[in-house]
């Protein structure tokens, strides 16, 4: 694999995480438990989709075949999406949605911080914008996780169940395959061991305040980065892609 192909895939990995998570968050639009949270989640979805758009546009430029952000978002098949399985998990209850975002934010913030020093100027520029927004995201999800964990018996139980259920999907965020290692050597991507250390610190600090237990590492799900997704992914793409598949090239 050439450096160019590796960079293309690396952009897609990040973009797909953000695109699919933003889609999940947007499903809460009009259904939030309170108005402020409805607005908060749609705001976050907007931030994620903004970063995804930048990354998909750049991926298209790197690939050099004239594909636009829309081509990459709307016209790839399921096996060509390389997001982690964490972000495709269904929303569940509000504790589950918050826990899923918290685990992602605890990974995304240090990743964006590290990418601001990437040898790739465009990735560094995209991360430079994202890092500021990611601070707000992590604050939001941490605040709610603490409120749930240190709240009532019921909210504590649900928050713990959400973390326990999601933990198996966190391993995939930190897998460094040959493609990733090649980009680390080139100074394009950060070493995920450092990102994992920051993730661990955030998780331990917030869970301690939230009086929640950190789940024990067990079986870790994988495959998302290779395009092998769970049963939910097809439904997500059907919703994202239906219009462009039914009416190719439709604009609004």
């Amino acid at each position: 694999m050439s450096q160019q192909e590796a960079l293309f895939t690396y952009c897609l990995r990040q973009a797909d995480d953000l695109l699919i998570l933003s889609h999940r968050l947007s499903e809460w639009c009009g259904h939030g438990p309170v108005l402020e949270e409805d607005i908060a989640l749609t705001n976050r979805a907007l931030d994620h989709i903004g970063e995804a758009r930048n990354l998909l546009t750049y991926a298209g430029q790197v690939e050099g075949k004239g594909r636009t952000e829309d081509d990459l978002a709307f016209l790839r098949a399921e096996r060509q999406f390389v997001n982690t399985k964490l972000v495709e998990q269904p929303n569940g209850d509000y504790a589950f949605t918050i826990a899923r975002s918290f685990l992602f934010d605890a990974y995304h913030l240090p990743l964006a911080e590290a990418l601001t020093k990437s040898s790739d100027a465009q990735l560094a520029a995209i991360a430079g914008k994202a890092v500021k927004e990611a601070q707000y995201h992590l604050r939001h999800s941490s605040d709610w996780l603490k409120r749930f964990g240190d709240g009532t018996e019921e909210s504590h139980r649900r928050a713990q169940a959400a973390l326990d259920g999601l933990w198996t999907f966190t391993g995939e965020l930190f897998v460094q395959d040959d493609l990733h290692q090649g980009l680390v050597k080139a100074g394009v991507a950060p070493d995920l061991i450092a990102i994992k250390a920051s993730f661990d610190e955030t998780v331990d600090n917030v869970l301690a305040e939230a009086t929640l237990k950190r789940p024990v590492d067990g079986f870790m799900a994988s495959g998302g980065r290779q395009g092998k997704h769970g049963e939910n992914m097809g439904f997500i793409l059907a919703e994202i892609q239906y219009l462009q598949r039914a009416y190719p090239g439709a604009k609004w």
Binding site: L46, A124, G128, A130
Partner: protein, 166 residues
């Protein structure tokens, strides 16, 4: 035929840009918001460089169109608006006049990022834009648009938007 009677200058373009408002916060112009990073005039063509406030801000496309329209209406035919991401926009680029106009419009302007509390995630002291009281509290980190948080005043009991420090 449109006759351009006077030569296009950067100063003239900036004068026109003052008429282009932020579509979501129409109290301030794109210049006061700090999203215009450069204006280049070469013969009869104008290149305006803008930077997004928030990555997903839906107002950016509208701003681009509004800038093109304003300059076209002033008889400048050759207008290009390009977007750059770096350096990343910061609320420090909102001009002093811009901040004053935000306040008059009922939106608490952002504090300065040099304020270390903002970086540490502690809450800033925000003055109510309606009554000036500092007895205020945050309701939600996310408000009516990507750039604002929702606050309320404990003195006059009015809710208000705060432009988030970024």
């Amino acid at each position: 035929m449109v006759m351009v009677t006077s030569a296009i200058t950067e100063a003239r373009v900036r004068e026109l840009l003052q008429n282009v408002k932020d579509p979501e916060v129409p109290a301030i112009s794109v210049l006061e918001l700090g999203v215009v990073r450069a204006v280049e005039v070469k013969n009869d063509s104008v290149l305006v460089t803008i930077t997004p406030t928030y990555t997903g801000c839906p107002a950016m496309d509208v701003m681009k169109q509004d800038i093109e329209k304003e300059l076209h209406d002033a008889g400048i035919a050759d207008v290009r608006v390009q977007q750059v991401l770096s350096p990343a926009w910061t609320t420090d680029w909102i001009t002093t006049e811009g901040k004053a106009k935000l306040k008059a419009y009922g939106i608490a302007p952002p504090e300065h990022t040099a304020d270390i509390r903002a970086l540490k995630g502690e809450l800033p002291v925000v003055e109510c834009p309606h009554c000036g009281s500092k007895n205020t509290g945050m309701i939600s980190l996310f408000g009516s648009t990507a750039c604002k948080a929702l606050w309320k005043c404990n003195a006059c009991l009015e809710p208000f938007d705060q432009f988030k420090c970024l």
